[in-house]
């Protein structure tokens, strides 16, 4: 039972991530590699605020969201002028920057959370407290899953409503033909800033949930592998609609668990998992470039 709850919590977290990433990749048509960076920014913000300064869950998450919104400009400003491969490279730079900041902002002599040891570097932050909501401490996973599911549902509602709105319609128009959209008087720069900010905020929430659930955070949550896992979810599941990312999150959460039952030797299992991811992506790109449930294919 605990195992299933654990999986459900992971699924909730990655549904938020995939839905938010789909706003940028599927609706704006901008392939970003920096999404894990904002996920980690959310996680680290929560961890430090809760652990070091003793903030409650809601104010800490709110602060994490605001920080992610501001920092999302590092991705959306390049998107004003850059497209395609060049935009991917710019987001890769942001991703590398976030990772190296988290990895290097440490000093073994200074206490965690101080100016010279903000992130504790590669050792990560242990002992992140579970949230307390309305006086109830969610230390039991059975309680935490309720919070995670509620947040995931709320995020899904927000994404659903936004993408079905005229705002989402402009995003798709911009993705299809930016010049034509601008010619109709749409300030596409503003729409990009909004979409990337909203996506970054949502994934920061997911990062905070992850930090609160696992209780430990290290820079690997901002690694390129993590970004690629997130991208795989939306690409395998499908871009440009609501169900695609959810399918993708489900598959990429379930797949490693299913492989676990194959009873492979440990040394082989991890490598085989990566090989299977790679094969899956190649096959998807070849046979169904719009993903399993998607409507849009990357060009």
């Amino acid at each position: 039972m605990n195992y299933l709850i654990h999986l459900l919590i992971y699924f909730d977290i990655y549904v938020i991530v995939a839905l938010s990433l789909n706003l940028v990749v599927g609706y704006c048509g901008l392939l970003t590699l920096a999404h894990a960076g904002f996920y980690a920014i959310g996680g680290y913000s929560y961890a430090l605020l809760a652990l070091v300064w003793g903030w409650g869950f809601l104010p800490a998450v709110l602060a994490a969201v605001l920080l992610a919104a501001v920092l999302s400009l590092t991705v959306s400003l390049p998107a004003w002028r850059l497209k395609g491969d060049f935009f991917v490279l710019a987001t890769l730079a942001v991703q590398a920057l976030v990772f190296s900041l988290l990895y290097n902002w440490s000093n073994a002599d200074a206490p965690l959370g101080s100016w010279s040891n903000l992130t504790n570097g590669p050792f990560g932050i242990p002992g992140i407290p579970r949230p307390e909501i309305l006086g109830v401490a969610l230390t039991d996973s059975r309680h935490f899953v309720l919070l995670a599911t509620a947040v995931a549902a709320l995020s899904a509602f927000v994404v659903r409503r936004l993408t079905a709105s005229p705002w989402g319609r402009v995003l798709v128009a911009m993705r299809e033909d930016e010049l034509a959209a601008r010619g109709l008087g749409k300030n596409t720069r503003l729409f990009k800033v909004q979409a990337i900010a909203i996506a970054s905020c949502l994934t920061a929430v997911a990062g905070a949930l992850y930090a609160a659930y696992v209780g430990y955070l290290d820079p690997s949550s901002a690694s390129l592998d993590e970004s690629i896992l997130m991208l795989s979810m939306v690409i395998v599941g499908g871009l440009g609609n609501f169900r695609g990312p959810i399918i993708g999150a489900l598959i990429l959460i379930a797949l490693p668990e299913l492989l676990r039952f194959l009873d492979l030797p440990d040394a082989l299992a991890a490598n085989l998992r990566l090989a299977i991811y790679g094969l899956l992506l190649v096959l998807m790109m070849h046979f169904r470039p719009q993903g399993i449930g998607g409507e849009y294919r990357l060009r």
Binding site: R161, S165, P166, W167, E176, D177, A180, G183, G185, K186
Partner: protein, 517 residues
């Protein structure tokens, strides 16, 4: 079609747009040289000029797509006029509300269309029109999230407006079909309608009739007439030479762009029968010839028409003597079926049965295949070129089957193609493009462009280069297949193109063009 008469009654009102001293040069070549112009409310302007005279450049500048080197533009369509002076000082760019870009110029009531319709393919037709509406509360994500009822009210209004517009375009029951599933003529009209819903007071149209068959041309003209008469939109139209006569009833003013400046002429006596374009005259419909046909056929040629399925027609032009020994087809197409996805594009008969498409091109023939939009001309060319899979049938070049050969083998055997889009190597220079085609004997018109990169050429110039490269790409050419070869050409370029086609060493030539009937 009565599009002529009403224009006379329109008063030419206040100035909507004024430009002073516009200058623009590309890489040392001066395109606009201190150009002045004035556009008044209710005018319908035909912007003319030779290939490379700067029509598209001027359109790009006036719509905010390109910043000129010097000059000033004043937009007066709204109660608060707005002026831009160039070159703009760098600190103006710091103000996020004062940029010279398409979206800011669009707020001054200026819209444009492109040669290709540029509809949003993922949207339905209704959404394509609704998305254009300005000031929609639902486009603010905060309002979309927290005040959906406000957005929904506006959305309902817009839906009605879009449906009414689509009904006017005879697309009443197609609101929910996706934009890439309607014909070219229809997409062009939806693109125009979209610009108007977006609040256009001044609409710039870049070749609105290009690539359309006769039905499509009539429909677009009707819509333009409605915009001028019913919506009070002021139009500036760039149109290809052969399509200009269609616009005669509508146009009030000519702008001739020459040597970087505009010469303006007001037309008189519009709507008068004597100036009614011949192509709109129903009594001449039976002639069934495109405007350039006379240039190609000449006096001493024999012309034979054959009707093909689904409204297409093949016209063979040949020397009278040639018909005596018709035995040698250079290109033979037998029972060809080509599908795109599940849809059969080539090979259906008039009843929609899958019978296969047949065509033979004989030695010495110049054949013109006229077909309505959506018939599959481009698909046919791609299938013959080996760029599109053939479902069934046989294609023979000088009696050798080529159906299973890849594109490059077909080209080596002597098939030469000129696509309707200028498929050339954009980053290379003109002489490099020509050299890649294996050709070193270019005409003076093309040689004059030699040092420039292909992407810096105007539409007409690109067409010249594509045609020159395409018609000379094989060592021993056997057939030329050209998709809309005269598109974007002015008069002298068309004459050159006809000369090039007639003097081609290939024994057979097939032109694919939209129906003129």
């Amino acid at each position: 079609m009565k599009i002529g008469a009403f224009c006379d009654t329109l008063p030419h009102g206040r100035v909507l747009l004024r430009a002073e001293g516009l200058k623009q040069a590309f890489g040392g070549q001066i395109i606009l040289d201190g150009l002045d112009l004035e556009l008044r409310e209710g005018e319908v302007v035909l912007l003319r000029g030779e290939n490379g005279s700067g029509k598209t450049t001027l359109l790009n500048i006036l719509t905010g797509n390109l910043e000129p080197d010097a000059g000033a533009i004043h937009y007066h369509a709204h109660s608060t006029p707005r002026s831009y002076r160039f070159p703009r000082p760098w600190w103006r760019e710091l103000n996020p509300f004062d940029h010279f870009t398409p979206e800011f110029v669009a707020r001054e009531g200026v819209r444009r269309t492109w040669q290709e319709p540029r509809l949003f393919g993922a949207h339905t037709l209704r959404d394509n029109i609704a998305v254009a509406a300005p000031g929609h509360p639902g486009e603010n994500p905060v309002l979309a999230l927290f005040a959906p009822s406000r957005s929904a009210r506006r959305e309902t209004e817009l839906g009605h407006k879009a449906d009414a517009m689509l009904a006017r375009l005879s697309l009443a029951r197609r609101q929910d079909s996706s934009a890439d599933k309607i014909s070219l003529g229809q997409t062009k009209r939806v693109a125009i309608a979209r610009a108007v819903v977006a609040g256009a007071r001044i609409l710039f149209l870049d070749e609105p009739l290009a690539g359309l068959d006769r039905q499509g041309i009539g429909d677009v003209l009707e819509l333009l007439a409605f915009l001028v008469r019913g919506q009070g939109v002021t139009l500036v139209i760039v149109e290809h030479l052969f399509n200009q006569p269609h616009l005669h009833g509508l146009v009030t003013t000519d702008w001739l762009l020459k040597d970087g400046a505009i010469r303006r002429t007001d037309r008189k006596g519009r709507g008068d029968d004597s100036t009614r374009p011949h192509s709109l005259d129903p009594s001449r419909v039976s002639i069934r010839r495109p405007a350039w046909f006379g240039l190609l056929a000449g006096e001493d040629m024999e012309v034979v028409d054959e009707l093909l399925p689904r409204g297409a027609m093949l016209t063979r032009i040949r020397r009278p003597a040639a018909s005596k020994h018709l035995s040698k087809p250079v290109l033979e197409i037998r029972e060809l079926v080509v599908s795109r996805g599940p849809r059969v594009v080539i090979g259906l008969d008039d009843r929609g049965d899958r019978v296969g498409f047949n065509l033979a091109l004989y030695e010495g023939d110049i054949s013109v295949l006229q077909a309505p939009n959506g018939w599959g001309k481009t698909t046919l060319l791609f299938a013959l070129a080996g760029l599109q899979a053939i479902s069934q049938g046989l294609v023979q070049l000088r009696c050798h089957p080529i159906t299973s050969l890849p594109a490059w083998e077909r080209a080596k055997l002597g098939m030469q193609f000129v696509m309707s889009d200028n498929h050339s190597f954009k980053g290379l220079r003109v002489d490099e493009n020509i050299a890649l085609a294996g050709y070193n004997n270019a005409s003076p018109g093309v040689r004059a462009l030699a040092g420039r990169t292909f992407s810096s050429l105007s539409g007409g110039e690109q067409r010249k280069v594509t045609l020159a490269a395409g018609l000379n790409s094989a060592v021993r050419p056997v057939v030329n297949i050209l998709d809309e070869p005269f598109n974007a050409f002015d008069h002298s370029a068309s004459l050159d193109a006809v000369k090039a086609i007639k003097s081609s060493r290939a024994p057979g030539t097939l032109l694919l063009v939209p129906s003129a009937v």
